[in-house]
Symmetry: C2
Amino acid sequence: MTAQPDTEAQATPDKPELTRRRLLGTAGAAGAAGLALGAAGATGVYAAVAGPDSGSSPALSTVGSTEVVFHGKHQAGITTPLQSRGHLIAFDLAPGAGRKEAAALLRRWSATAAELMAGRAPAADTGVALDAGPSSLTVTFGFGPTFFDRTGLTARRPVELDPLPPFSSDALDPKRSEGDLWVQIGADDALVAFHALRALQKDAGSAARVRWQMNGFNRSPGATAGPMTARNLMGQVDGTNNPKPSEPDFDRRIFVPAGGAQPWMAGGSYAVVRRIRMLLDDWEQLPLKKQEQVIGRRKADGAPLTGGTETTDLDLDKFGPDGKLVIPDNAHARISAPEQNGGAAMLRRPFSFHDGIAADGTPDAGLLFICWQADPLRGFVPVQRKLDRGDALSPFIRHESSGLFAVPGGPDRGEYVGQRLLES
Amino acid sequence: MTAQPDTEAQATPDKPELTRRRLLGTAGAAGAAGLALGAAGATGVYAAVAGPDSGSSPALSTVGSTEVVFHGKHQAGITTPLQSRGHLIAFDLAPGAGRKEAAALLRRWSATAAELMAGRAPAADTGVALDAGPSSLTVTFGFGPTFFDRTGLTARRPVELDPLPPFSSDALDPKRSEGDLWVQIGADDALVAFHALRALQKDAGSAARVRWQMNGFNRSPGATAGPMTARNLMGQVDGTNNPKPSEPDFDRRIFVPAGGAQPWMAGGSYAVVRRIRMLLDDWEQLPLKKQEQVIGRRKADGAPLTGGTETTDLDLDKFGPDGKLVIPDNAHARISAPEQNGGAAMLRRPFSFHDGIAADGTPDAGLLFICWQADPLRGFVPVQRKLDRGDALSPFIRHESSGLFAVPGGPDRGEYVGQRLLES
C-alpha cells in the first residue's frame, strides 16, 4: 500500500519525558523536535519532524524520531504508513480469567503502548529499546470472536465477527489462527518492535497466554526513492488499488460509524489476518511474461497490462491482436478489482514474512496479509470468494492461518482501548 | 560493535548501470551520487553519499544509496558497519559435485554478488529488490572444514579449520552447524537482503544443497542518534571492546597475512558462527542490579561498574565498600576482557535473531554470533574456554549451533572469490 497518514489522529504536541533520548545527551534537540504527529489530514502527506543536530551529538533521523499518537478517533497502525518491522501476537484468556481480568489487562496494555509509542520506557524495562527514538512504533489491539463468551459479553459480540466462510484454497492451521485477543506491533526499528513485543507479553501476566506469534517486515524507509507502493516477496507491486484516506468514502468503508448495533465499535475496524505462504520455488520458475499474465500487471512498475502507469485504471475489456483479453479472465488484478466486486473495499496493510526454510526444503515465506474494513462481508469476503473460484495466482499461494478481530476505536485521553466494551 | 569501515576496500568510483534506479526516473541523480564507497581508512568514518533530490522525484536516502564495494583486499561484510538485516546460509556440495562444480559455483556467486552489491539486477531476476538502491548490501563467502576433502583439496585445508574444542555449555544441533560452504548476506533493507538470498540460492543450482539458513537483524540506521555500539536482545550494549580498524594491530589480529602456510587465504579471515539462544524469560526476571553484576557493565550506557563511560577501561582490581570486587570474578566483561586472555582479539559482528516462540513457549531469540579473527585458536577459542568455565552469563544463554569457516581474501577485478584456492 501507499504510505498514508492517520487521517483523524489527534495532534498532541505535548512534551513527553524523553527518557531514552536523555541518555544520549540530546534531550534538548530531540525534546523540542519529537512532537507527536498526526492530523496530516486529507493531503496524503505524512509529516515527520527530525531533531536538529544538537551540535555535540548527532540527532535521531526521522526514522528514529517519528512518533505516532496513541490516543485518537482510531487506533494507530491502521492508516499509519507501512513500517519496516512487525510482530503479530494472539493471546487466549487464561482459564478462570474473565471480564475483570481482561479489563485490567487492556488497561495495562494501553498504558504500556502509550508510553512506548511516545518513546518512553515502562517500569522494570528490559532496556532493549534504550538509545532509540519511538521509530514510528504503533500498537493495535483487537478482540477475537471467542473473547465475548469468555468474558460474559456475548450480547456485545458484533455480527461482523461471525466466522468467515470456508474457502476451497484454505489450508488453515487452527493453532496459528484466531485467538481471544490480538496485538499488532509495527516500528521502523527491529529492536524497538521486539522491545514492545516483550513488554506487552510481560503485561499479559497470568491473565492471558500466547496462542501464536508471527514476525514480518517491509521495506526500510529511504531504501527506495520517495514514497511508493510496496513490493511483496514475489516481486510484485502490491497495494496499488488500496483506498486512499483522501477519498470521500474512505472512512465509511474502513471504519465503523457511530450509531451502529455495537456502540463500543464506533471508530473501530475489522481486521482479517492471514498467513499467506508463497510457493516461491514454483513462482520463480514462471517466466516474467507468464507472471505478468497471472497478475494482470507489469512487474517492473505495476502498470496494468493494458498500459499506462501503476495508477492507471485496468482496461478490462481490451483485446489483444491475438483476439484474447489483454488482462486475462483469471488475472489476479481483474478478479480483485473493486469494480468487479460491487465496490467492495478493504485497506490492505501487510507485512512480508520469512521464517527460513520449511521442513520440505522450500522457503517458509510470504505475506502476513492484514486487511481493514468496516464490515468483512463487504470487504474481504466477496473479494476472497471470487479469488477462490478462479484466481490464476492460487496455485502459487496457500492460506495457512486466519484470524478475524474487532479492533475498537482509539482511546480518548485517560481511557484504555476497549474500555467502552468492558466497562459500559 | 561500533560501525567500522572496510579499512582496505578499494574505492572504485566507476559508474554502474543503475538499472533499478532508472525505473524510478532518478538515474541522473542517483547515477551521479551512487559512487562506490570504501577506503575510509583509519579515520573510522564511514562516508555515505546521498543522492540529491532530482526535483521531480525524491532521491534515495543514504539508507538506499550506500554501496559497499565487492572487489578489494578483504571481502565485504567483515568490517562493514552492522546492517539492519542479515541472512546466513550454509550449503553442502551435492553428491557428485567436486572441485570443478565448486569453482563454477563460486564464479556464478561472485558475479551475482558483484551485480547485486552495485544495485544491479541479475538476469532472470525475481524483481523483489526493484526500486531499491543497493542499501549497503554485502555478500561474504566462506569454506567449511568439510569442503576440502570433497573437492580433492585436502592439502590446502588450513589447520585453522581444525575442529573447535567442545565446550561444556554447548548444546549444538549438527543439522544447523557447519557446512561445506557458508554465505553471509547483510543489507539495510529486508527486501534487498531477501532478494540476494534467493538469487544466490538459485545460483547454487544442482551443485549445492542448502544445509541450514538463519535470519537476523540489527538496529535501523537513524533509529538512534549517531553511530553507537549495538544492543542485544538482553538489552546490553554489546561490542564495546571490539578491536578498531584504526588500531595498529587490527589487521594482524583479524586478517590472515601474506606468506602463510595457505597462500590462498592471504587477506582472508576465519569466521566462527554460533546461534546463541538467550533464555530471555529467565534473564528478564533478574533485577537490573543483578543483570549488571552478571555483565560487569551498566545497562543504561555500557560503562564498567567501576565507573566512567562505555569506553573506559574496566578496573578489574577495584573493591567496593563491602570488600568485594566491584566487577565480580565471574562477570562476563571481566572474563572476556582481552587483557584476561593474553590479548586474544576477535571482531564480533553479530545479528540478533527472533524466530517467534519455541515449542516450549519461550522466545526463540538471541544472537547470531559471528566473530572474525586471523586464527580461531588465538581469538574465539581462548575466550570461549574461559567463559565456559565461569561466566555468570552462562545460565542465561545456550549455544545451539556452531560453524567454522575459512573466508578468503577479497577478489581482484576479474577474479572470483576462492579462485586462488580452486584454480591455483
